[in-house]
């Protein structure tokens, strides 16, 4: 059911953890529904230089978290905002239909982290 890429990211998730002095943090989902994603980003010169996540959720949730962090790392804030759940799912060689909703969380978590960053740094730094 899951692609090899999904299983690889599930088994070896990239960028797990937290950033002590994060520029922004986003937490989406809730435990009631079985999925929580928390994302910390470090922004320097408008570039996302580091990103870490923690996820409570199924394989797909873990894998999309992991993939999403890889996809935004090194990107500018504007580029990161363009990241869609579709792109994340595609980068994972697809997700089972019933799991598509998990990939939404990754997109939302990044947006939430960037929003938090903007709130804390209204002037862009």
């Amino acid at each position: 059911m899951y692609s090899e890429k999904v299983m690889d990211h599930f088994e070896h998730p990239r960028n797990v953890g937290e950033i002590a002095d994060a520029s922004g943090t986003g937490t989406v989902g809730n435990a009631r529904c079985g999925d929580i994603m928390k994302m910390d980003i470090k922004v320097e010169n408008n570039i996302i230089t580091d990103v870490k996540f923690k996820t409570f959720g199924c394989c797909a949730a873990v894998a999309t978290s992991s993939m999403a962090t890889e996809m935004v790392k090194g990107k500018s804030v504007e580029e990161a905002l363009q990241l869609t759940n579709k792109a994340v799912a595609e980068a994972l060689d697809g997700l089972p239909a019933v799991k598509i909703h998990c990939s939404l969380l990754a997109e939302e978590a990044i947006h939430a982290a960037l929003e938090d960053y903007h709130k804390k740094h209204p002037q862009g730094e």
Partner: protein, 395 residues
């Protein structure tokens, strides 16, 4: 982690491997003795004899008469048939059915169908925190228009054994038909339809090392039934369709062996089960056992592991060769976790983190030790990845 890893199968509540002795007796019925049991020529009569021999084996295992055993395509069909037909035949008496909130979906969705499309009133009895139905609740729920009580013998998720004998007595005294879904119970605990006062009983071969896609419904002599599947005169005119010959032969053999080995099975599995339960509870913090401990299937272990999600847990175990299952929403494609775990009072977030390891005849002491070795690390790993922590999560 890849090709030749040993598989430790602990999902026997989902399905079991066909045992060698069972497959051996089935084999001749595919290509040699392949007759249609309804054909009156010698090839057909051979097949008929085999079906009737299997019927005797099933009857003997349940303390029933052979003519009270009707072969079906499995547990779900048996449940659907029992409930729909019993209800239909008694429509004039009333349209009230009593069941529990932890039944298998084959029972619950059939009841919901009758509720939605046929004007039935269904009482879904609650259970206690161990998953036990209170017989007194059954008694209190019986009304003038009650036509059927359907309470499972053993729960498939948390392994709780229901007080079927007491409920049978109450049903009998009230003159209400009593159906039990014994799909998880047959082959795992002793069953006698007369001692239990059961009128209808569902079973499925693949839960006790028989083939998938074949089961039976016990129908007490005198109970009026209609067909779920109409057509030919098979199964005393009540269940049409060319008999699933080889599988029926396999069902007969499988139940015969399972019942013969029951004492040995019970001792062995109960020991492994308790070792596994105690080991998990001792090694891993913030874990709870689901289901009643005293009234429990010999092979059932069901725990909720806080702060982590069930599918992730079982996929990690899968990567290590340990095959279990979970009541997590994500394993079912819905958003809600198992209705059984919610019914015993678990909050959603804890229910999502459940793991069922169901032991079977193939499991060994070493299997249990292996799981106890790897599980704590897997849990630690996943918890390290989890944004939830003790105080944060359970508000």
């Amino acid at each position: 982690m890849a090709e030749n890893k040993k598989i430790i199968y602990m999902d026997n509540a989902a399905t079991t491997a066909v045992r060698k002795e069972v497959l051996d007796v089935m084999l001749p019925y595919f290509s040699e003795h392949y007759g249609n049991p309804s054909s009156i020529h010698s090839v057909g009569r051979d097949a008929k004899r085999a079906v009737e021999a299997a019927r005797k084996q099933v009857a003997a295992a349940l303390g029933a008469q052979p003519q009270e055993i009707y072969f079906t395509a499995g547990g779900s069909e048996s449940d659907n048939w029992a409930i729909r037909s019993a209800a239909e035949m008694l429509e004039k008496k009333g349209k009230h059915i009593i069941t529990s909130s932890i039944e298998h979906h084959a029972v619950l969705h059939t009841c919901e169908y009758l509720e939605k499309y046929r004007g039935y009133r269904i009482t879904y009895l609650p259970v206690d925190e161990g998953g036990l139905v209170n017989p007194q609740d059954v008694k209190n729920a019986i009304a003038d228009d009650t036509v059927l009580i359907s309470i499972m013998a053993a729960n498939n998720e948390i392994g709780t054994l229901e007080p079927i004998a007491e409920i049978g007595k109450i049903a009998k005294a009230a003159g209400v038909l009593f159906h039990t879904d014994a799909v998880q119970a047959v082959g795992a605990i002793p069953i006698d339809v007369n001692a239990l006062n059961v009128d209808l009983l569902s079973l499925s071969a693949h839960k006790f090392h028989g083939p998938k896609g074949v089961g039976a419904l016990y129908i007490r002599k005198g109970v009026r039934m209609n067909n779920l599947i109409f057509g030919g005169a098979q199964e005393r005119n009540l269940r049409a369709g060319t008999e699933n010959l080889a599988s029926i032969v396999g069902l007969g053999k499988a139940i015969e062996i399972a019942v013969a080995e029951l004492p040995e099975y019970t001792v062995k599995l109960t020991k492994l089960r308790d070792e596994l339960i105690n080991g998990i509870l001792a090694e891993i913090p913030d874990v709870r056992l689901n289901g009643d401990h005293a009234h429990r299937l010999p092979g059932n272990v069901n725990v909720s592991v806080r702060y982590i999600e069930g599918e992730s847990l079982l996929m990690r175990l899968d990567l290590l060769g340990v095959e279990g299952s979970s009541g997590s929403a994500c394993t079912s494609g819905s958003l809600d976790p198992s209705h059984v775990l919610l019914a015993i009072g678990l909050p959603h977030e804890i229910a999502h983190g459940s793991l069922r390891l169901s032991l079977g005849i193939g499991n060994t002491e070493e299997d249990v030790q292996y799981v106890l070795k790897v599980l704590p690390d897997v849990v630690k790993d996943l918890r390290a990845m989890s944004p939830l922590t003790r105080p944060a999560c359970f508000a």
